[in-house]
Symmetry: C3
Subunit: 132 residues, 3 copies
């Protein structure tokens, strides 16, 4: 079952927690046991799973990627957002997550994030759910 | 349904657009709605999804990875292709993509690329398609 | 079909080959043709596929990640394991692999690894197998 929702990202770079949005898709699907594929159809944003408890983790991820792939370096792509393409490529644009008892089955500290690298923008997220 | 095709990569490092090759597999599968898993069975090449419109994006991805993981650094692996293993590990060897109306459902600017880091070589790509 | 197993990681940082553990899950599942999703429910460890033949490859991956995201840099996250979160985010916490004739279908040199970045610890691995 296929779902799409949108996320308004707040700034140039941000990790936006979309775990609850995915839960809503699973609820609507009425699938109790299965897995969902989460895919972002953009080339300057990604999807990751990591800690959503302490917000300093998100800050460290963003700052370290900026140190490794700085906006200030020189790039060929003339639209000015080359580092956003590169960061997205390194993180990836998709994840799979499991469903048990009609809910996401994640680790205790895990959340699912949209990684924005060229915002603020309205981003689409696609979710494909298959049951057992 | 399982498919395999080969790609001759043109140089040491290259991002080769394989979107059309994947579309051909989907066509042959006759599956109209579903998803496909794309997997490369090599350890010095990867699979990514990013912009296939402006070729300078690909150039920036390649150049930035080379800056971060240079061929000139010193490594333990004596075959001389350690940076290719590391780049592949960071990008990953696989992606999932959705199928709608018998075609790949990608974002406007997205293409699927084989990322070659130790070419030129003939590489295999595996595609596993499942319908709804 | 869903499986869970645990892995005791030997040190702060380590790539632990879990290919045989995955094969055992596939055997138990009795599924001959399909695919398996391998997911780690932790935020300071990842799952990757790369060479499991020459152990120097693993060493180069670990050392290069340490150079790019050093423990000695300064981070916001006060638990002291920020680099482990960042490394895991870059590698990802999951892979898919295909099943043929009741066995993993991998490339000649490929193995599946648990990537530990904040060990030694006992880590859980989740495996979700679906047949054709």
């Amino acid at each position: 079952m296929f779902f799409e929702f949108t996320v308004s990202t707040p700034s140039k770079t941000a990790l936006v927690d979309i775990t609850e949005k995915i839960e809503e898709c699973i609820k609507k699907s009425n699938i109790k046991e299965g897995r969902c594929f989460i895919f972002i159809p953009h080339t300057t944003a990604g999807i990751i799973i990591n800690e959503n408890y302490d917000p300093s983790v998100v800050k460290d991820i963003i700052n370290t990627l900026e140190k490794l792939i700085p906006w200030s370096a020189s790039y060929s792509h003339t639209e000015g957002n080359a580092p956003a393409h590169i960061k997205s490529t390194i993180l990836g644009n998709q994840v799979v997550a499991f469903i048990q008892n009609g809910r996401l089955k994640l680790g205790t500290w895990q959340g699912i994030f949209l990684a924005e690298f060229d915002g603020p923008r309205v981003r689409k997220v696609w979710v494909d759910i298959i049951g057992n």
